[in-house]
């Protein structure tokens, strides 16, 4: 079991963003996490990555408790995420963004950096080469010297994925990677996500683009008003009456069929 969410609840003052949600992810799987706006999907990511602490419940990663750790410790353990509202390092170049992603897999401190020791140079070269390779994977190699903020929207989303991959995650959390992408880009995104899975990385995907979700995911968990209302394979989810009701209730801005 890669990740086990155990009875997680989260309260924001009077709002219950998540209530007693449990599910788990097995190795090599692409698990979809869907639900109408405000269902609690991003909150779940924030629980997993310790951006916020759950009100109750716990989370384990490869059978090890991770609730209570700091965000950076969780990344070091092997969970990395992207953000719904893109959070790149805007004034860094594309390649610097990706190299920064390697932070927790490298060691050089102040003295090694200042004295440019052999091991430091070696390390810098390694993460530079790795960053180039990752940029190739997300098709941004040509833009490597561009500043993060000067990329087009879809490119920024891909850069965020490359940056996350640089931290060598075992589990990758993607928060609406297709948001703002055109049809062509979405097709490429689908290819990219399956390619990442084939690299041996387990994926938890939040997405509103239903065709993409149905095509990409092995299994889907559906949240509505903070509760898990369904879990299963894409076909079963598509025809689940609870799910259809939940989505119709939101005036159909997400078309499940």
């Amino acid at each position: 079991m890669v990740l086990k969410i155990n009875n997680i609840s989260k309260q924001f003052g009077g709002i219950t963003a998540l209530s007693n949600v449990s599910f788990s992810i097995t190795e090599g799987e692409i698990l979809g996490l869907i639900g109408p706006n405000g269902a609690g999907k991003t909150t779940m990511f924030n629980m997993i990555t310790s951006v916020l602490a759950p009100t109750s419940g716990d989370i384990s990663f490869y059978d090890e408790q991770i609730s209570g750790l700091k965000s950076h410790q969780i990344t070091t353990k092997g969970i990395c995420r992207t953000f719904q509202n893109i959070r790149l390092f805007p004034e860094m170049t594309v390649i610097e963004n990706v190299m920064t992603g390697s932070h927790c897999r490298t060691k050089s401190g102040v003295w090694k950096s200042v004295f440019r020791t052999k091991s430091q140079k070696q390390e810098e070269k390694e993460i530079y080469d790795k960053a180039k390779q990752l940029l190739e994977t997300v098709n941004l190699l040509k833009e490597r010297e561009t500043l993060g903020k000067n990329l087009a929207y879809g490119q920024q989303r891909r850069l965020e994925i490359a940056r996350a991959l640089a931290s060598e995650p075992k589990l990758l959390l993607l928060d609406e990677p297709a948001a703002g992408m055109n049809e062509q880009e979405t097709v490429e995104l689908h290819r990219l996500i399956t390619k990442i899975r084939d690299m041996g990385i387990t994926i938890l995907l939040i997405e509103h683009d239903m065709p993409l979700v149905m095509k990409t995911c092995d299994r889907i968990v559906v949240l509505n008003f903070g509760k898990k209302i369904a879990e299963g394979e894409p076909k079963a989810i598509q025809s689940n009456p609870e799910v259809i009701k939940a989505y119709l209730g939101t005036e159909g801005d997400d078309d499940i069929a």
Partner: protein, 321 residues
């Protein structure tokens, strides 16, 4: 020959420029991780008083005194830096300014130790001490055609220049490394930085402490160059002046502190008429810079442009071979 060229007054000004560059760097390095500290005057006072008291009262060697000043400023940096992690932007600026005032008031009020507002005089002079050491081994500045006082100013200038060059190399290299990237990442987006596995607490305290140590070093050197210090040297005016070096010159790059400190130290020296109004000018400069060029005169883009030009020229060079 050399004797005619060396003017103690110019060397004195140049030495102050170098000390101010160190102060500018102290702002630069704390800002690198997104923390605006106005505590530099306070940390400077810690460094200056530590070495002044040790060397005048206990005849501790200068080097030991200066290092003690730097270390103590660094310890204060950690002590102030950790609780300050909760504070951002202007709140951090106010808290650190408060720290500076606490240090100053403490110095004024502990007369038995610090001589209060009167200050400490007769602090061993850096140049004089070096000359004494050299005379012991039979050196005479006459060999260089210099009078003793010319030599002391010259040797202080050279020593400070070496220190500044070492520091500039140190911080330029740090910037282009894993540590520097961690600082910038935190500066740009703390939450994203943490999500990339960067220990935000550690790096923020590190950068704050480095800034404190630099200010402490500048203070210690200042004490031994001037040989007289008083609490009036470390008021909040000084804190604002130090901030102006960095903000005017450019707070994103090491070169900014160098330019800012040099320009703003020379300005009142060359234009005596301005000297009286310097704090007013600093105020105006800060407002104008914030409105039109918040990153300062020298910014990252300018440095990149230089680098690219240099790169291109080198390329041409190899092609021509």
């Amino acid at each position: 020959m050399l004797g005619e060229l060396i003017n103690p007054y110019y060397l004195q000004v140049a030495s102050f420029i170098l000390i101010n560059i160190i102060l500018g760097l102290s702002i630069y390095v704390t800002l690198a991780s997104g923390q605006l500290s106005l505590g530099s005057a306070g940390f400077m006072a810690v460094g200056a008083y530590t070495t002044a008291l040790l060397t005048t009262n206990f005849e501790v060697p200068l080097l030991v005194g200066i290092l003690a000043g730097v270390m103590l400023a660094g310890i204060f940096g950690i002590i102030v830096g950790i609780p300050s992690l909760r504070l951002r932007g202007v709140f951090l600026a106010i808290a650190t300014l408060g720290f500076g005032e606490i240090v100053r008031v403490f110095i004024v009020n502990t007369e038995s130790l610090t001589k209060g507002a009167i200050g400490i005089s007769g602090i061993p002079q850096l140049g004089r001490e070096i000359l004494d050491k050299l005379e012991v081994i039979g050196f005479d500045p006459e060999i260089l055609g210099l009078k003793a006082n010319q030599f002391t100013f010259l040797i202080v200038f050279i020593l400070l220049l070496i220190i500044v060059i070492v520091l500039v190399c140190f911080f330029s290299r740090q910037k282009n490394s894993r540590v520097g990237r961690a600082f910038s990442a935190i500066n740009m987006d703390e939450q994203a930085a943490a999500s990339m596995g960067i220990n935000v607490t550690y790096y923020k305290v590190l950068s704050f402490t480095q800034g404190a140590m630099l200010a402490g070093l500048a203070g210690a050197l200042y004490a031994h160059v001037l040989s007289y210090i008083s609490p009036a040297d470390f008021t909040y005016h000084k804190a604002v002046e130090i901030l102006t070096f960095s903000v005017f010159g450019g707070s994103e790059v090491v070169g900014g502190a160098i330019f800012g400190a040099t320009f703003l130290t020379l300005l009142p020296e060359t234009l005596r008429a301005i000297s009286e109004y310097r704090y007013m000018i600093y105020g105006i400069l800060l407002v104008v810079m914030m409105a039109y060029r918040p990153q300062g005169v020298i910014d990252e883009q300018m440095m990149r442009w230089f680098k690219r030009r240099k790169g291109r020229r080198q390329q041409h060079g190899t092609e021509n071979k």
